[in-house]
Symmetry: C2
């Protein structure tokens, strides 16, 4: 059942039927009713390929997925996907993942924009002065950044969490508990979220006249193994930190294991605060000693990104508004006053 058949059946032109269905004003209410009724009764659904060719709109949002033999997709990504699905389901909004060589994402960005494969893009895990953000901006395709990129000479729409505030507050709490040697086990420090977190820690320490020693900061990919290694190195030295702030539960797993290997009891010998992105399969309250965390659901962010992208596609949103979400500090048993 296509438009032609339907219009024949109704003894109306394709124009009128199309307009009636798409809510244009120049169609009488009675005709519109007749048309929508018939469309529903016959299960008419406009062919998206045809509509796309005619309008240039794809009805899909895109994500360029960096891949490569040495590139691992972050498990945080499924949480984001869950959130995206929360919104997209029920809006018939699909997501197209375009795998790209992590060394050369630009080609893929250009391709999907030139081909008009998607109406809007979502960009994640930005770096400072992020090339992808600049490119999307330049190509003029609607997009939203999940995170922030500093050092670009234009504004752009994003949603981010208050990484600096979260890590500031976590660190301040540790300082208030008497900790003087606080270490940070961070994610990849070329990513802005990590930069903001480090900034938060430094600021909180500075407020009490303390500093984050270079040897007390580690920036590594967020895996259990890396958490373990970083913690071992920190804790085995002299003047080992009495408290650690870390960027992911995955690393926290490794830190806890390191502490155990070194016969350190938590929180007596070591306080730990981790950021928690809210995984359903690994929860901070279920660590052997329940973890104090800075908590913010990536899933919720995913839903919001989808919502805003949909709004931008349909023209309900424009401009370069950035949203910064506050982060919860959830205190549990993994921290205590310094001995």
């Amino acid at each position: 059942m296509n438009l032609k058949q339907l219009s024949l059946m109704l003894e109306l032109s394709q124009t009128t039927v199309s307009r009636a269905l798409n809510g244009y004003p120049e169609v009488s209410e009675e005709t519109r009713r007749r048309v929508t009724d018939a469309a529903k009764r016959h299960g008419y659904r406009p062919n998206p390929s045809a509509r796309r060719l005619a309008t240039g709109k794809a009805g899909m949002i895109g994500y360029v997925m960096p891949t490569g033999a040495a590139v691992d997709i972050d498990p945080h990504f499924v949480e984001f996907l869950s959130g995206l699905g929360d919104y997209a389901r029920g809006h018939e909004l699909d997501l197209v993942l375009s795998p790209a060589d992590a060394q050369d994402e630009e080609t893929t960005y250009r391709r999907i924009v030139a081909n008009k494969q998607v109406d809007a893009l979502y960009i994640s895990a930005p770096y400072n002065a992020d090339k992808r953000v600049a490119l999307a901006h330049q190509l003029g395709i609607p997009f939203i950044v999940h995170g922030r990129s500093e050092g670009l000479d234009f504004d752009y729409p994003f949603i981010d969490i208050d990484n600096e505030g979260a890590f500031h507050d976590a660190t301040r709490l540790l300082v208030q508990l008497g900790h003087k040697r606080v270490a940070l086990i961070n994610g990849d420090d070329t990513q802005t979220f990590a930069i903001f977190r480090e900034r938060g820690v430094r600021r909180a320490l500075a407020e009490s006249g303390l500093v984050l020693e270079p040897r007390n900061i580690r920036s590594v990919a967020m895996t259990e193994e890396n958490g373990y290694r970083a913690a071992r190195r920190l804790l085995e030295g002299s003047d080992a930190p009495t408290a650690i702030v870390c960027s992911s539960l995955l690393m926290a797993l490794g830190i806890v294991r390191a502490a155990r290997d070194l016969n350190l009891t938590m929180p007596r010998d070591l306080s730990l605060v981790s950021h928690d992105d809210v995984f359903h399969w690994l929860k901070p309250e279920h660590f052997s000693v329940p973890l104090t965390t800075t908590r913010s659901s990536i899933r919720a962010a995913g839903a919001r990104v989808a919502e805003r992208l949909a709004a931008r596609i349909s023209g309900l949103e424009d401009g370069a508004r950035g949203e910064v979400w506050p982060v919860d500090l959830v205190v549990r048993g993994s921290i205590s006053g310094v001995r």
Copy 2:
């Protein structure tokens, strides 16, 4: 630059240019060369929307992603995506994720097939007599199942790992070490992978005249918390098992925590074998006691699925061939002879 302009420029008809570019035989070699040269020089790229409308081919593969407030996407999925990207990158093959209400995936399947949004589908985590597989078969769209579904009255193409063999071998090893009370902490037992694994355990036990007691088998969603709970329940009873086989490292985390809470030393008081899907962010060799595992990379499977899907789309593969991959048994410190 579109086909019309290009053909004008070459003083050829659109037909000939199109044929030359698409490798049809009825075009002289010289013209073909001229055409491909000019196309490359002017950076001509056929408009996919137009091609799609004309041919009905989308050049994309699809995945219907079950979502819902109570539905969490499995972190195993990112590994699959990484693998898919390994192949798809470099083949300009995109993946479209269509979020669907987990209660009603059928509507979405019908929509994306009717709309010809994708050329082929990938179906994951099948149940027995899986409705989605039956539907895809009936709708006549190319697809590949990652896993297997029993109880369908037709054959279909799939790739799966030898879950039964893997869990059989793991269990047999435990039995050989003298364990008589072996428990299984499995994933959701409506999924076929879990059924096969249980079968493997039962068969290995039966070969030594042992049985898998109903109270020694747990089927739960694969999370740390569920692993912990299941293990607590198993280990606190009288006649507690001396060995556990489990279906995921995520659950293994919880099992190890439970053992520790109960003051059981591994492997002295408890042997543990886990299945390992090969996450880069959590490795069995880095557990506090290195885990013996049955290992099979989901990522490799993802790449293979993409490869076969591409082959099916281009007509290089047809039929209903199923692939079953062997699974490695990797022995590490988490098992020992029973005391």
